[in-house]
């Protein structure tokens, strides 16, 4: 409660820098939960406003966990879940598509659609953990911090997610 020190998150530059490095991930995370862009944007704003309001009481090293705690609390009030619409990156990094046979490409397209559907059908907990790893490239310990659970629990969710995805995809093969 040292009010005489305006530094930390209360500092405009620190705050905007913190926003730049964390807002996108937070929004993605909220999107995985809600499956709705508007709600994700809104909850992101809310979390950052809450952070600002409490900037004097939150040391910079605790800011991130504060942010996700607020966000997690907010999501508790929004149970209604909509479809998570994900897209595939347009530039295919791993393949030189020109060298692929048409059959292969078609098969891959089909697989992509199946994967999308399978992800949609995951439980919210599994999907969040899985997508944080796959899309945001978060480490397991980072995901644990975001979700407020242990690393072991994250691994279990990821494992469960993979298991479920494979089952879904292979079942409809």
């Amino acid at each position: 409660m040292k009010q005489d020190n305006p530094a930390g998150i209360c500092e405009e530059l620190t705050f905007s820098g913190f926003f730049r490095s964390h807002a996108k991930a937070l929004r993605n995370f909220l999107y995985y939960k809600f499956g709705n862009e508007e709600q994700a944007d809104e909850a992101t704003q809310e979390a950052f406003i809450k952070l600002w309001e409490n900037c004097a009481n939150v040391p910079p090293e605790k800011a991130k966990s504060f942010l996700y705690t607020v966000a997690n609390n907010t999501t508790l009030n929004h149970i209604a879940h909509k479809k998570v619409v994900l897209e595939y990156s347009k530039k295919n990094v791993n393949h030189d598509t020109n060298n692929q046979s048409p059959e292969f490409l078609m098969e891959e397209e089909q697989f992509k659609v199946k994967l999308q559907n399978a992800i949609e059908n995951l439980s919210e907990a599994q999907r969040s953990a899985f997508l944080l790893h796959r899309i945001d490239g978060k480490k397991y310990h980072e995901i644990a911090e975001i979700l407020g659970i242990g690393v072991k629990a994250v691994e279990k969710r990821i494992h469960g997610a993979l298991l479920q995805l494979r089952k879904d995809i292979d079942t409809f093969r």
Partner: protein, 305 residues
Amino acid sequence: MNEDVTLAKWLNDEMNDRELKDFMAQPEYATYNKIKELSGQLTVPQADMDALYQNITRNRNKANQPKVRKLNPWMPRVAAILVLALGITFFLYTTKTTTQLAAAGERDTFLLPDNSEVVLNAGSEAEYKEFNWSSNRKLELNGEAYFKVAKGKTFDVVTPLGTVTVVGTQFNVKARNGRLDVTCFEGKVKVTNGKETVFLTPGKTVAYENGKNLNLADITTHKPGWLNHETYFGKVRLQEIISELERQYKVTINLDAEVNPDAEVKKRFSGTIPMNNIDTALDQILPIYHLQAKKEGNTITLSAE
């Protein structure tokens, strides 16, 4: 099986060579690998993060005054209404004027806030502000009035023809039809009519007609005659007497068109005329102007003899 997290280990490239080899040998591996590869290409629909930040900044600035936000929204409104009501009340109170009126044939005696006495003659109007009277004793007069002013600082009687300033005194002011008559009965009176300023001592009287001093003679009474229904006129035209009679007796007096207004009528009259008996009053005036009166109800017509 609950603790099986091998797939998570594999996804995070944490398997050792042997584990990996075993895993790759399984028939499901192909699917798992495809999931890993393709899920890495997934993207989220992007938001305009700059706009998002703008929104936050906007809200954040509001958050800088949390106390203000927490006020009930109607509190400032109630306060504003109260202030407004108070302001209007004060404004009305300070600008509120009291008007005293004496209609034709009537008189009105009233007291000012400092107990100064004012007697309004028939057909006169006085207006003043009660607010702050003691330090701003000012009264606007249209017509004729007698003042018995309480001791104090200045007391102003403002008429369209000039201002009369007095100090603890008794005096009469008559402002009618371009003529201002001021008579002092006690104390000292200052008369300002734009061009000149005159000080009156008891018994002195001054009259301006269209700004010109008529040089009236001193009076001998201690009170204006009209208070006892005996109006004193000093160097007045016939038209002024007629107007006064109309006011006092509440009648209409017409001057016949044949009467030459230039000759007889212009003659000035000085003297006292009773204001409680119209016949006596007419008998007194008419011979002077060689006129005769014809009465029909409330209308009197004057014509040449």
